[in-house]
């Protein structure tokens, strides 16, 4: 097990190295550069040269790449954002918790609804609940997040006035942010009003972002349950007179969990890389909006640091998913 983990972690080195080259080349292949983004109509050849010199963009690309690797690896410095003039690592520390918080809320929504929905649908195969779950999950995957978000905001915020439409908490409430996880910050501050406000701000974005994972989780749960249900050992278990509840929990659900865990893990990994649309529509200051703005501004240091970090997270989540197989199903040995 330990060897497996170490080997997977070592694999990270070539993965990240390859990725860093790709990212580095890709963002420099985009038309335009920071100078154009910063100055627009006011750009002159002199000012462009000045900015390129300042950020070392006038050197050959491989020299730039070498310098980048050196500062990242040796100095452990992700550089400074061209637009905000702040260290990339500092912005990352603010942005990533926002994305995690939203991703966790969205996955909770998707799991808490999706797993039971899929399970019940399978148990009532072909019945009205099954049909209904099909429709719901179809809607979930096919409705554009953007549209869903605007619709949700229209109903719950503008018409009913129940929930807020933007941001992570009301600007009229003030608390300290030691962790940048606003839920935790509110708990640490011991401020129930703030906590409730933060949760209210999470509801609509979590539903919007969770709609696709919800549909996927429900479909996978249904399929997995159907599969397991017809296995010989389930029939045997029933035949030997085990209570239906025991068969459901021990024989069916537990075995169906494996693909469910996989899909939940992978979806979480995806959500952690930042949900561009949801974050934009809800003015959620997470990784998605950060990276998109960085693309618009040709903010090379943010793009390099941010994308590399997101890839790292994605690989790590996959590793955790692989490891969790062993915990769920002892028949699988990681080696």
């Amino acid at each position: 097990m330990l060897r497996f983990v170490i080997r997977r972690l070592l694999l990270l080195v070539p993965i990240l190295l390859g990725l860093s080259i790709l990212v580095f080349a890709w963002i420099r292949a985009l038309p335009g550069g920071p100078a154009e983004a910063l100055l627009g109509e006011r750009l002159t050849p002199e000012s462009r040269a000045q900015i390129e010199e300042q950020y070392g963009l006038d050197d050959p690309v491989f020299v730039q790449y070498w310098r980048y690797v050196k500062t990242t690896v040796v100095d452990r410095d992700l550089g400074t954002s061209i637009n905000t003039r702040r260290p990339v690592s500092e912005e990352l520390k603010e942005r990533f918790p926002a994305t995690i918080e939203l991703a966790v809320a969205a996955m909770l929504f998707a799991m808490v609804l999706g797993v039971p929905l899929g399970y019940v649908a399978a148990k009532r195969y072909g019945g009205p609940i099954d049909q209904a779950s099909l429709v719901v999950s179809l809607l979930g995957v096919s409705m554009p997040i953007f549209f869903l978000a605007i619709l949700l905001k229209y109903i719950f915020a503008i018409k009913l006035g129940l929930l807020p439409t933007v941001g992570r908490m009301s600007v009229l409430i003030d608390i300290e942010h030691p962790t940048n996880f606003y839920v935790l910050d509110a708990i640490i501050a011991g401020n129930p009003e703030a906590l409730w406000d933060v949760i209210k701000h999470l509801i609509l974005p979590a539903i919007a972002l969770g709609s696709i994972p919800l549909a996927i989780v429900a479909r996978i749960t249904r399929a997995a349950t159907l599969d397991v249900q017809n296995e010989d050992y389930v029939r045997t278990a029933r035949a030997k007179g085990l209570p239906p509840r025991t068969v459901d929990v021990r024989h069916i659900f537990r075995n169906a969990l494996l693909p469910i865990a996989t899909i939940i893990g992978l979806q979480t990994g995806l959500l952690l890389s930042g949900a561009v649309l949801t974050e934009t529509v809800f003015a959620w200051p997470g990784m998605g909006t950060w990276l998109v703005e960085a693309i618009d501004n040709r903010n090379y240091p943010v793009l390099q640091g941010g994308i590399l970090f997101v890839s790292l997270v994605f690989v790590m989540v996959n590793l955790v998913v692989d490891l969790s197989y062993a915990l769920i199903n002892p028949r699988i040995r990681v080696s």
Partner: protein
């Protein structure tokens, strides 16, 4: 079976419970605004870069700086007229190179230190002595636009020195006469900061390294911006909020609001919905298609900001036959400008008669105009002796929307159609806005005609027609000594009346000479809750929130 049924019901109940509870909580905003001054939340397009006027040029940085800082002079609300601020009066010497300002007395910075002549000179000297990364255009664009170079004399500077002749009199010496200097001093970038705070919080501290550029290490521009304005800084959490509060020691009319909060919401649709739900009380740059929605809602209102931009069609005279005036006149007559402005500006545009907005001094009503007239265009081409249809390379940018051309492609298509009816044959060309298109326009390689425009930096005719036509540029490819001289004179003339005459004359000359064809000024729109009062939109966008109040509770 039982278990499965329970599982299904439980989460639904949970969600239902959450909504029910949310209902009990009510909307968070409704009860807050009924208190005396109250709080106003304004939706911005992004976070500021930094809160140090000397080192920024983006609108979302300037907006909060305008609330907390003041310059020697300012612009009268809603106009481009220069009026006293921290200086009560001023005069230039006969040569126009030495400007004496009498300063307002009993003014204090937010940190309690005294505002005086030394503080003014400290700020000017700070700007003049910027080095290294501070000399980048993205940092000190406005200093370089107005004053040119720095103390290292790599490029000549308009600024020479600052003398505090007594506690409340300051003399600013220039290297040559400049009249646009005074208007430029109203820029947010030249507002006066507390010297003590600048030093104490390391406004200019930072490290430069090759890879990552300049890294500020001081906290002045993020946590301690200190001016004299009607609002003072409270806190700034990026991506979330920038909070300011009323300055109770303000020397002038105190702010009506207790607190002013700027909240970044980058998405246009999200800003509109936040306004509708009451989470914000207002936002800037309403999209043309959203104006109707806001106008149709009784609880909301639209405010117009006077136009401060111009969209125009470049004519490159370097290539024959566009050096012939008849051909340029034919281009002007062949462009259906009315139709373009009417159809593609969502009711926010007006047809431009000249290259500067009507609100600026020096604007001339009586310039030569060129109504759309295909027949006349053809006869002009005939007169010029060119063979019809005359082939023109016409460029437009892709992937961009500017206030003066919300949708360049549609502008182009309409113009191409009207030119084709007027004896021309348009060959379309396009390129991505940046860097290709901007580069080509700049270098004069974007065909015979191209679409471009300008948004003013400050309220001075020199910042419009001076930028375009004061000297030779490859974009237009002409040399007109009469025009160049006139614009040089205008820039230097200290007497306001004479100056206005010179610019009127220049505008007439330009519209006769027709180096390009102006076609649109657009008026940006602001959206507010209906109960917000006292916001006066200004063409240069540096509106003050001090007179703003929220009337009659929610």
């Amino acid at each position: 079976m039982k278990l499965s049924r329970l599982w299904f019901v439980f989460p639904l109940a949970l969600v239902a419970l959450a909504f029910a509870a949310a209902g009990c909580g009510g909307s968070s905003k409704s009860d807050s605004s009924s208190s005396a001054g109250g709080e106003l939340v304004f939706g911005t397009a992004s976070d500021p870069v930094a809160l140090d006027g000397a080192l920024v040029s983006d609108g979302e940085s300037l907006r909060p700086i305008d609330q907390m800082f003041e310059g020697l002079v300012t612009l009268k609300e809603g106009t481009t007229e220069v009026v006293p601020a921290l200086a009560t009066s001023w005069k230039a010497d006969a040569a126009g190179t030495s400007w004496t300002f009498d300063l307002r007395e009993n003014v204090k910075f937010h940190d309690g230190t005294e505002f005086n002549a030394d503080a003014v000179c400290f700020n000017f000297d700070r700007w003049y002595n910027f080095k290294g990364p501070f000399q980048q255009q993205s940092a000190t664009y406005y200093w370089q636009t107005v004053f040119g170079g720095f103390s290292d004399k790599k490029t000549p500077s308009l600024y020479k020195s600052c003398e505090a002749t007594d506690d409340h009199t300051v003399v600013i010496n220039l290297t040559k006469p400049s009249a646009s200097f005074l208007g430029a001093l109203a820029l947010t970038n030249f507002t006066i900061a507390s010297p003590e705070a600048l030093q104490k919080y390391g406004a200019d501290k930072g490290s430069v390294d090759e890879e990552t550029g300049f890294k500020p290490t001081g906290s002045y521009a993020t946590q301690h911006p200190t001016g004299t304005g009607p609002f003072k800084f409270v806190s700034w959490t990026r991506g979330d909020r920038l909070v300011m509060e009323k300055n109770d020691d303000y020397w002038g009319d105190k702010a009506k609001l207790d607190r002013l909060i700027f909240r970044p919401i980058s998405d246009n649709a999200a800003r509109l919905q936040a306004l509708q739900s009451g989470e914000i009380e207002g936002y800037d740059l309403v999209e043309p298609q959203d104006v109707k929605t806001i106008e149709g809602d009784d609880s909301l209102q639209i405010l117009d900001r006077p136009a401060f931009n111009v969209g125009y069609v470049t004519i490159n005279q370097k290539v024959s036959p566009f050096d012939k005036i008849e051909v340029r006149q034919a281009v002007a007559a062949g462009l259906d400008r009315e139709a373009v402005v009417k159809n593609f500006y969502g009711g926010r545009g007006e047809v431009a008669k000249a290259f500067m907005p009507p609100s600026l001094e020096g604007y001339a009503e009586d310039v030569q105009t060129y109504p759309y007239d295909p027949a006349k265009a053809k006869s002009l081409l005939q007169k010029a002796g060119v063979q019809m249809p005359l082939k023109v390379d016409f460029w437009y940018p892709t992937d961009i929307s500017r206030p003066y051309m919300p949708d360049p492609k549609r502008n182009f298509e309409a113009f191409a159609a009207s030119l084709n009816k007027s004896g021309f044959k348009v060959v379309p060309h396009s390129a991505p806005w940046s860097p290709d298109y901007l580069g080509r326009v700049d270098e004069g390689t974007a065909g015979h005609l191209n679409l471009i425009g300008w948004t003013g930096d400050f309220a001075d005719p020199d910042n419009f027609i001076g930028v375009f036509f004061q000297s030779f540029s490859p974009q237009f490819g002409f040399r007109n000594p009469e025009l160049f001289n006139l614009l040089d004179q205008g820039e230097a003339e200290p007497d306001e009346a004479k100056r206005e005459d010179i610019y009127k004359q220049a505008n007439r000359l330009i519209m006769d000479f027709l180096p390009a064809v102006p076609y649109a000024h657009s008026k940006p729109a602001l959206g507010f809750r209906a109960d917000v009062e006292g916001y006066e939109p200004s063409p240069t966008t540096n509106e003050s929130f001090a007179p703003v109040s929220i009337g009659g509770g929610d």
